[in-house]
């Protein structure tokens, strides 16, 4: 059974829909990219899948074996975090909080998991550094390491490369692919269509027209060709 299935869901705020009639599913090990124009509801989709808000219609079915604390999340950065006094290690291990439940302190396994995640993201040498003094790319990798602590089965990413220079962005996508290679399913929202068709296995296009299918089908489809043509020029320039 699929890890996560969306059946005819509608998204929006205050009963005003921004996207309607979405059907897709994510199996374990999948890599789904969500693309579409600004304001088409990409971030709303992520928030809905994370159950931070309710869908206006339809239903999201999680596989029986998928518990909420097995989901990881890489959000867009908030203003609060920009001047937050915390070390990298403190932030990364806070990703284990979901699995800690009511237990007040972290176990040795969780501390080791945090160290491994930092190593994987190549930020071990930054462990005691202050988060607010890092570069944008380093901050993103810290948040990804935190997501890795939380994600055992599925990881939802919201614009993982926004605000990064091209080399930092490429590095970010490589790291995400590495996590996907370890069997973690990825759902990634991105306005970077080039990266989406390079890395993802499936594409969900939302907006006036909706498309869901494999990457190859998307590249051949009319909607996919139009969107790629329109956006690729801008992205690479």
């Amino acid at each position: 059974m699929a890890l996560l299935t969306a059946r005819n869901i509608s998204l929006g705020y205050d009963s005003i829909p921004v996207a309607e009639g979405l059907n897709f599913h994510v199996d374990s090990g999948d890599y789904l990219a969500v693309v579409g124009e600004n304001g088409s509801g990409k971030t709303t989709l992520i928030r809905t899948l994370l159950q931070l808000q309710n869908p206006l219609g339809g239903e999201i079915v999680l596989d029986d074996g998928l518990r909420k604390n097995e989901i990881g999340h890489l959000p867009q950065q908030t203003a609060i975090q920009k001047d937050f006094p915390a070390s990298v290690r403190e932030i990364v291990i806070s990703g284990c909080q979901g699995r800690a439940g009511l237990r007040p302190f972290y176990t040795r396994e969780e501390k080791e998991l945090a160290e491994e995640s930092m190593e994987l993201m190549d930020i071990s040498e930054l462990a005691v550094k202050c988060y607010r003094e890092l570069s944008g790319g380093q901050q993103q990798r810290v948040l990804l390491a935190r997501a890795l602590c939380a994600a055992r089965k599925i990881l939802l990413l919201d614009e993982p490369a926004s605000g990064l220079d091209p080399s930092a962005a490429a590095r970010m996508y490589d790291l995400i692919e590495k996590m996907n290679g370890k069997g973690i399913a990825i759902i990634m929202v991105s306005h970077d269509i080039t990266a989406a068709v390079n890395y993802a296995k499936h594409i969900l296009h939302i907006g006036d027209n909706i498309f869901y299918g494999t990457k190859e089908e998307y590249i051949k489809s009319e909607i996919g060709r139009a969107f790629i043509k329109e956006h690729r020029g801008g992205e690479t320039a």
Binding site: I71, I80, F84, P85, A86, S94, F105, C130
Partner: protein
């Protein structure tokens, strides 16, 4: 110096110091969370509510003002935090409304019904802290110790959860942390702290006691745990010196403590800027 040693032998000075240190310690711990969650204003609003409740309690001649002030403030804290989550602006406006309203009603009630002959003195001491910290009896001290132990226990047990929901509440929620419940507990604890701290520095100065040490520590240090430890020790040192100065110089206790806190903040700012400049 001799003067201090002589004063230290009086039980009322010892009581004042014990209570002062405990309150300073408790209030500083949650300061960083409030500041970072952009909720510093809540401390201010709640202390005004506590003032209103104390006024009502005084008029109804309750045996202990805290019996009324504590539950009323707790309920307000929960309501304010809830409204603050739904919409930022509405929460802000709600605080302004509640705090001014509570202040006005508190003063009105005291004015109309008060049996005391020294009304303005009563009001002034509730707002700016009284010398009552120097007239505590054993029962007050024990109550304060009890509540402080409760606050400290909650803080230690919840430290990692507080960090998680302060840094990124959405992430915490999305990954299965029961953020709403924890926010509720934090609200209750903050209400307790405010009612406690009101005895020390008075309703209008409470938020300074909560916010100043945290802000100073954030100027100096960059880790969350370091900031917590630094703000707690700073707060205790400032309260201690504030109380001693006020005893020696005969200045009002609350205002003196807050003034010392403010001076410490100034120094922290200066050191923070200098060390950052040196690094560049």
């Amino acid at each position: 110096m001799d003067k201090i040693i002589i004063y230290m032998q009086y039980p009322f000075v010892q009581n004042a110091l014990i209570v002062g240190i405990l309150i300073a310690l408790c209030s500083s711990l949650f300061g960083a969370t409030l500041v970072l969650k952009r909720l510093s204003f809540i401390g201010d609003g709640l202390s005004h509510v506590a003032f209103g409740a104390t006024a009502v309690a005084a008029v109804m001649s309750f045996a202990d003002d805290m019996l009324l002030a504590l539950p009323v403030t707790t309920v307000s804290a929960i309501l304010l935090l809830k409204s603050g989550q739904n919409a930022k602006i509405r929460g802000d406006a709600a605080i302004a409304m509640i705090s001014a309203g509570a202040l006005a009603f508190g003063y009105l009630i005291m004015n109309i019904f008060s049996a005391s002959s020294n009304l303005s003195g009563d009001v002034c001491s509730t707002l700016f802290g009284s010398t009552s910290i120097l007239t505590l009896d054993r029962k007050d001290v024990w109550l304060c110790v009890l509540l402080s132990v409760f606050v400290l226990t909650v803080f230690v047990l919840m430290y990692n959860k507080i960090f998680a929901i302060t840094f990124d509440e959405d992430f915490a929620k999305a990954t299965g942390v029961r953020a709403d419940e924890y926010n509720l507990i934090i609200a209750v604890v903050i209400a307790i702290i405010i009612v406690l701290a009101m005895n020390l520095v008075g309703a209008l100065l409470v938020s300074a006691l909560i916010v100043f040490p945290a802000l100073s520590a954030m100027r100096l240090l960059s880790g969350f745990k370091q900031v917590m430890i630094c703000s707690a020790s700073l707060s205790v040192v400032c309260a201690l010196s504030g109380i001693l100065i006020s005893i020696l110089a005969g200045t009002p206790v609350g205002a003196t403590i807050v003034a010392v806190d403010a001076v410490a903040f100034g120094i922290a700012c200066f050191i923070g800027r200098a060390s950052r400049g040196a690094r560049k």
